[in-house]
């Protein structure tokens, strides 16, 4: 079973050299439908998207998992933004956020947290830990614009 899915959002007629300028986003969500939805939203914001179905696989992709050392070939340096669901089995989005912020390599990469539940204490907890923004699910068409702004900011 594939742990990660890579997709390129190169539109017709664009060249490879322009495509490499596209921000690379790692999207983490244990829900199949939501992974698809966030993938499309990011593609519409002209991003290259890699999806992971839980926190551990996300950390492995970034080269931050406990069993990995600094010599492990990782993709962390390529990733420009991470968007993650809050409620996931094993490791929550908050725990994933903490691990990312603890890493010297990844701590400056913006992390967006998504949740279906609007719980102020949860939101505050994530923002205090350094999350860039907190988005409510289900994600909508208007969230494309918010993500686009975040991406523009994180590239600048």
């Amino acid at each position: 079973m594939e742990m990660f899915a890579n997709s390129s959002s190169i539109s017709k007629g664009m060249e490879e050299v322009v495509a490499s300028d596209e921000p690379h986003v790692l999207a983490v969500d244990d829900n199949l439908v939501d992974r698809k939805l966030v993938e499309i939203l990011l593609k519409k914001s002209s991003c290259k998207v890699t999806t992971a179905e839980d926190g551990l696989r996300a950390l492995e992709y970034l080269g931050l998992a406990a069993h990995q050392d600094s010599l492990t070939n990782s993709n962390g340096s390529k990733v420009n933004m991470i968007i993650t669901d809050y409620c996931m089995p094993g490791m929550t989005g908050y725990e994933l956020l903490k691990k990312i912020k603890e890493s010297s390599m990844m701590k400056d990469v913006p992390v967006v947290i998504m949740s279906s539940e609007n719980i102020p204490t949860r939101i505050n907890q994530c923002m205090e830990e350094g999350a860039q923004i907190f988005m409510l699910k289900p994600l909508k068409h208007s969230d494309v614009e918010r993500l686009r702004c975040q991406i523009m900011q994180c590239r600048g």
Partner: protein
Amino acid sequence: MEVGQLQRSFVEYMASLFREISAFAFVFVVILDLSALELMYFAVLIQKGFLDAQFSQLQQLQDDSNPDFVVEVVSLFFEDSERLINDLTMALDQPNVDFKQVDAHVHQLKGSSSSVGAQRVKNCCVPFRNCCEEQNTETCLRCLQQIKQEYLLVKNKLQTLFELEQQIVAAGGAIPMVQ
């Protein structure tokens, strides 16, 4: 299917739906435009609560670069839901039910139904989670029955909607965008 035949069967189908709406008085006009038919059908699905505004959000995300987006996402929803319903059935069939596991499955189902706009399915999930908290197998089973029913209904409606869209495209028309 010949257009006239399709129109007749749809008019009959919608007449049966409309008969349930006592609040509206409908004057039936022969619908010549398939796109208008589809819009009406869609409006009925919204009015009856099968779908909510989130479904329109999905339609807005569909464009030339993602022409099959809605069908793709809804197909994933069908796949996911059927798997979850099976898992729920098995989990509730155990001599010692693991209510945490049951709740986790319902949480997933609530998430995906919410993301595609399958309102009635989503609404069934809230009482289900309460029954899990109370650790009551009997009420959980009743909730599961409800979910199965609502899921099959919305699946049927969505498949009909997609079939209608296919007919429109095949007849050379364009699928109307609902804003």
